[in-house]
Chain length 283, copies 2
């Protein structure tokens, strides 16, 4: 029987540490501020925004939401972004993605100031992630995975870590982060032949494939650590990429969905914001 | 018995294609030019430079070498680099690395114009590599590996590709490129436990570990493809990371060292230069 490892204790610990750090900053008359840029009002953006705003307030970070009309032109969008880049009171910028299709992300990503890009939109932060350069900001979700592993004392060095999924926001970055911590990494995906065989030797298995209950019992090694990054909705119920009921008897540790990785991301966002604020103030 | 796959036919084919492309450019009064920046006169830099200059001349690319004194200050180095960034007659810049220690590469890499950075020094090109964005320039050596696989009709999609080594210039980029071509990838390194076991299921094995004759017979699957990126010198003789005599009886295809991957890199450099030249001229 697995131990179910939830996200909340991880988020709580990070939050507590940040409350202290922000207290010290405020004592120095530095007031960390997060700018959230949302185009339109998609329900999933709004849900994440509520979580982020509430997390920020709890920590002492000022959240400021800029809502832009769905039909904003690229030119006007970039103007708004540049305003935030230049505003010294703003330390970090979160832009909800994907942007509406008429806005060209391949252009816009070069516009965000990399020093304020706390969720890895800019290719400069992707480059830093690739290099293993800690001065950048990786995407929040894979960083949440790493914080969970750290919190629950999972040894990474020398372990076989297998990632299912190769997206730029989860699969690839979490693979690079695990590699950076000295895991032997493997990335599987839709073109992998006999995926159950490919994942079965993993000591740490990260599922980020975006398919409900995709990871079955025969994918998983006895006594392994299974991290489920998937968020899928089946019959109105949220479930992960891992068939929890099957896998929970094999894994030693397993994250649930909901209340797993997803519970940690806003605390990572806040952590990145505080880091950005400190860097911008040479602290 | 393996088939030994040499680099020269690959380089020759690329060179022939480039000669035609450059002919067309010159007809349009566009004269592709490569700037090589060398600090001091290290023997390995000079050797590579000779190869690159001769390859460029053969193709019709103008090579221009800027030799800078070993004790050049960071400020002066950046001044020289900016001159080349701004010089519209220069389409690509190759800076020999590592730079002397007093020059801070973590600063300088942000100075090179990403559009002229044909050997992936800039984090912007690393970010593009990470994303799988073809508009950038990956490092030349891993790209040479990909060209060899393509030339010898090695199927990549769905295959198990294992890379030994995780450097930013070979291991990581070749892994990302193979992933982009739909291989299931694994990255092994010095912290991998039982490395022979970890590599033995690879259909494509890329050795980029920098240790002479490291890959033995028991690392290799029968009938696999072995690409040796290592360049080591033992008793004055150049050898690769693969124990060629042992492995040549197991692999179906194997690159030799010398005359393998290393023979292809300057043609990739030239290919990147022509690509940069075309992009800068909106062709």
């Amino acid at each position: 029987m697995s131990r179910i490892i939830k996200g909340k204790p991880v988020a709580d610990k990070i939050t507590e540490e940040l409350i202290e750090e922000v207290k010290e900053l405020r004592n120095k008359k530095i007031y960390p501020k997060l700018a959230i840029v949302r185009v339109g009002a998609r329900e999933d953006d709004l849900a994440y925004e509520r979580g982020a705003v509430s997390r920020c307030k709890k920590i002492g970070i000022e959240p400021e939401v800029t809502q832009l009309p769905v039909d904003i032109s690229q030119e006007d969008f970039i103007k708004e972004l540049r305003k935030l880049n230049e505003d010294n009171s703003v330390h970090g910028i979160l832009i909800f993605r994907p942007l509406p299709k008429h806005l060209d992300e391949t252009v816009i990503k070069y516009e965000i100031n990399p020093e304020k890009d706390i969720d890895c939109f800019s290719p400069v932060n992707e480059g830093k992630l690739y290099e293993g350069d800690d001065s950048g900001f990786p995407p929040c979700t894979p960083k949440a995975v790493m914080e969970i592993l750290k919190f629950y004392d999972v040894e990474i060095k020398g372990k076989n870590a297998t990632i299912i999924g190769r997206s730029n926001v989860v699969g690839k970055p979490v693979a690079l982060m695990l590699l950076n911590e000295n895991a032997t990494i493997k990335i599987c995906h839709s073109k992998t032949k006999d995926i159950a065989k490919a994942t079965r030797e993993a000591d740490i298995l990260v599922a980020a494939v975006g398919r409900a209950n995709f990871v079955k019992e025969d994918f998983v090694k006895d006594g392994s650590v299974v991290i489920d990054v998937g968020i899928n909705v089946i019959d109105g119920k949220v479930c992960g990429d891992v068939d929890f009921d099957e896998v929970k008897n094999k894994a030693a540790l397993i994250t649930p969905v909901p209340r797993g990785v997803g519970s940690v991301t806003t605390s990572i966002l806040a952590k990145h914001l505080v880091k950005a604020c400190k860097m911008q103030n040479n602290i």
